[in-house]
């Protein structure tokens, strides 16, 4: 746990200092195996050595011993000045690696050893020449100053390292939080990081609008490997933390997640073993984690709010346009019907049979237009606002095409229709009414925007995983501009035409295709004319029919 052995700092093993720092910044999943070690190092480093850690003192005594062992054989050749230098060098080396106390011990022991072994008379603490007293005194002072300097330099480096490691750890979590898009993924990431860094279990409690806390449900997507036991926590106490808005420590550490206006939740962290109290440095780091998570949660909330605002604005726009268009498109035929009706009803006009027939036809046609419009509006609303569950079943494509043609038989009387379907088309899993509706709308569209006599071709093709239905004509083609525009609500092919309908037909086609997980697009044929392609995903079907076929033909 504790970096008692100074060598682990000064002489890096593969998992320390610089290379660790680099890894900490570089790896994507920083908290597995190697990461644990880094983080442990990072959080533990700032702690000071205990003042009376005796093995260090033993190591300290080795220095004067070794220095003396080297210096003694050299004494006949070296002057005493150089021997002093050797001792000061020893003190420096010792101070580089050991704490303050051992360093002082080295300084004193070195002075005594020099006095004993080298100052005449040798092998005695007596000093023959009083000049040497001055030498010994200066030697001790220099050694003490050096020891002190060395120790504080090392201390500073340790603090800098620790700070850097803390930044790396926070950065690793921040990066994961930044990628997460929802609150659930964010809390999961935070819990994972906190648990790893602080060797603890952790849980995030999210406060609702009234400030009531409830645990964030575990994220299903992370799998079993990441599932952690929940710490025991005191919900009432956590509730008080929400009110107070400050970090509290009981059996566990309760950290509030401060939002801009209110407390968004509480992280409960239980260090293992529970009794272990975290030092102030680690508590500060924990605060930083909590602040980071709170910020991210805030961001997620803002994003959600923005999305909700966008949707509601879009709906409001749709509603307004819908109302405007409907009121126009309903009022016009209504006034025609009311007018025609009153003409027929008034005896004083004495209409002849021909006129009556004309007015009667007009009433019927206008009423039919209205009904058609109403159906479209209702259908689109159902698809856009309603529960978008499909009532799908297996259907034969040729069957649906035939139905669409039959529905539009009268409308298409003046047009030539060609059906061009391969015989081996698979059954498709769709809601039949919607597909018939798409085809119907496309046929109706073709009849509206091409002159009579135009050929309308219906064809289909199966690709790898999708299926496409094509309604094409050899008419005048799409209006200029982006074809995608046609699928917007209330768009008409020609903006100032008197063609009936609010331009919902293609919007319905798109909504219906998308409900099926497909889409529709419009383009011009290479040889002229418009072409609409409906793409639908194909579901693989067990070959129930062919089984039967075998049995059926063998008989």
């Amino acid at each position: 746990m504790f970096t008692r052995n100074p060598a682990s700092i000064a002489a890096p093993s593969p998992l320390t200092a610089r290379n660790l720092r680099q890894k900490g910044l570089a790896f994507a999943a920083p908290l597995r195996r190697a990461g644990r070690t880094i983080l442990r190092f990072a959080t533990d480093a700032p702690q000071p050595h205990p003042p009376w850690y005796w093995p260090d003192y033993l190591r300290a005594l080795a220095i004067p011993t070794v220095t003396t062992a080297i210096a003694f054989p050299l004494s006949p050749y070296f002057g005493l000045v150089n021997i002093v230098m050797l001792y000061i060098l020893g003190t420096t080396v010792g101070a580089l690696r050991l704490g303050r106390g051992p360093s002082v011990l080295i300084a004193i022991a070195n002075m005594l050893a020099f006095d004993f072994f080298f100052v005449p008379p040798v092998f005695s603490f007596d000093v023959e020449d009083t000049h040497y007293l001055f030498t010994l005194g200066v030697m001790l002072i220099v050694a003490l100053v050096i020891a002190n300097l060395m120790v504080s330099i090392r201390r500073h480096r340790e603090i800098a390292d620790a700070r850097e490691q803390r930044t790396a750890v926070l950065y690793a979590m921040t990066r994961e939080l930044a990628v997460a898009t929802d609150a659930q993924a964010m809390t999961a990431a935070a819990v994972r990081h906190i648990s790893a860094v602080f060797h603890s279990t952790a849980v995030v409690l999210i406060a609702d609008a009234r400030g009531c806390l409830s645990p964030m449900s575990p994220d299903e997507s992370v799998g079993k490997e990441a599932q952690r036991p929940l710490p025991a926590f005191d919900l009432e106490f956590a509730q008080e933390v929400v009110t107070g808005g400050e970090r509290c420590i009981k059996d566990a550490i309760y950290l509030p997640l401060l939002g801009s206006r209110r407390v968004r939740g509480v992280i409960v962290v239980c260090p293992q073993p529970p009794a272990r109290a975290l030092p102030a440095e680690q508590l500060n780091l924990l605060d930083a984690f909590a602040a980071q998570l709170a910020l991210s949660l805030q961001r997620a909330r803002l994003a959600e709010a923005a999305e909700a605002a966008r949707i509601s604005a879009e709906r409001a726009l749709l509603r307004n346009t819908l109302l405007a268009s409907i009121s126009h498109d309903l009022r016009t035929p209504l006034s025609a019907i009311a007018g025609a009706g009153s003409l027929i009803a008034q005896p004083e006009y004495a209409l002849n049979a021909d006129r009556r027939t004309t007015l009667g036809n007009l009433i019927e046609r206008k009423a039919r237009d209205m009904s058609h419009l109403l159906t479209n509006v209702l259908e689109l609303m159902q698809m856009e606002f309603g529960s978008a569950t499909l009532r799908t079943d297996w259907h034969a494509i040729d069957d649906l095409v035939a139905l669409a043609l039959r529905t539009n038989e009268a409308r298409l009387a003046g047009w030539r229709t060609v059906v061009n379907l391969p015989t081996d088309l698979p059954l498709i899993m769709v809601e039949a009414t919607l597909i018939v509706q798409i085809l119907s709308n496309l046929l109706e569209n073709a009849a509206k925007y091409t002159p009579p006599g135009t050929t309308i071709t219906l064809s289909a093709a199966v690709e790898e995983k999708s299926f496409s239905l094509v309604v094409a004509d050899d008419g005048p083609g799409l209006p200029p501009g982006d074809p995608e525009r046609l699928f917007e609500k209330f768009q008409r092919g020609r903006s100032e035409s008197n063609i009936v309908g609010v331009g919902l037909g293609l919007a319905i086609c798109r909504a219906a295709a998308r409900l099926h997980g497909g889409d529709i697009r419009a383009m011009n044929n290479a040889g002229g004319g418009a072409r609409f392609e409906i793409m639908l995903p194909v579901e693989t079907q067990a070959d129930a029919a062919s089984e039967d076929e075998d049995r059926d033909t063998r008989r």
């Binding site: 019927e364 009423a367 039919r368 009904s371 159906t375 009532r391 079943d393 297996w394 259907h395 034969a396 040729d398 069957d399 095409v401 035939a402 139905l403 043609l405 039959r406 059906v419 379907l421 015989t423 059954l427 039949a432 009414t433 018939v436 079907q541 129930a544 029919a545 039967d548 076929e549 059926d552 033909t553 008989r555």
Partner: protein, 237 residues
């Protein structure tokens, strides 16, 4: 065939539609009885013994579906549903309760009249005898299970195809629901419409002049199939 004495009983609570229907049917030689509530109508049905019944599903006192069931309990009189309800499930429920046809509001008067006439004609003619069936240029001997084109070529139908055709023919040109068809052809333990759809497709390719635009084996979306036997061709046999 004349409908001079045919009596039509209409369950409809809307005054305007009552008027339209009365004018339409009286102008075409029907006697018309209109009931505004389910209770009145059921009474009228027993009293007048109508030749055909038109039911609006949205009646003030009871759901029209109940009316269908109640009448079916004692009478085979043809019933046409006339309603603003367009959902597939509603159509299916009406047919399963015993309705013969389904017309949605707003309806076209000529179309409604045509459907009523077709059903009355069929009902008067009675169930088709199992015998020869003429579909376009193919004649099928259901008893001997042989089908032949007008030009003398044989049309080979598989046993299952035969059974489907036979079942559809037995119901005249009334709709047969998917469930009923599957039950009659495959038995009660089958619950998969896929094979049925495949077989209908192959039947069409063999029997229809233009399989892409079938004229005889028609799909009723979400409900089932209906066999339309050529008008004017009386089944021999």
């Amino acid at each position: 065939m004349t409908e001079a004495m045919h009596l039509i009983l209409i369950f409809e609570d809307d005054q305007a539609i009552q008027n339209v229907l009365r004018v339409l049917f009286e102008a075409n030689g029907f006697r018309v009885v209109i009931a505004e509530t389910a209770a009145r109508g059921e009474n009228d049905a027993r009293l007048h013994r109508p030749d055909i019944v038109v039911v609006d599903l949205g009646l003030p006192d009871r759901d029209g579906l109940n009316v269908i069931t109640a009448i079916r309990a004692w009478s085979p009189v043809p019933i046409i549903v006339l309603t603003a309800r367009t959902a597939e499930a509603q159509r299916l429920a009406a047919f399963e309760n015993g309705a013969d046809d389904y017309v949605t509001k707003p309806f076209s008067a000529p179309e409604l009249l045509a459907r009523v006439r077709a059903i009355v004609r069929r009902h008067v003619r009675g169930e088709l005898p199992m015998g020869m069936l003429e579909l376009g240029d193919v004649s099928i001997d259901l008893g001997r299970r042989v089908a032949r084109r007008r030009d003398g070529r044989d049309v080979r139908l598989t046993p299952l195809e035969h059974r489907i055709l036979e079942t559809l023919a037995r119901h005249g040109d009334r709709i047969v629901t998917h469930a009923a068809l599957i039950k009659e052809v495959w038995g009660p333990h089958r619950n998969d419409s896929r094979a049925l759809r495949v077989y209908i497709g192959s039947l069409r390719r063999k029997l229809e002049i233009d399989p892409a635009r079938p004229k005889h084996i028609l799909t009723e979306l979400g409900v089932g199939y209906r066999l339309v036997i050529d008008a004017g061709v009386e089944p021999g046999g």
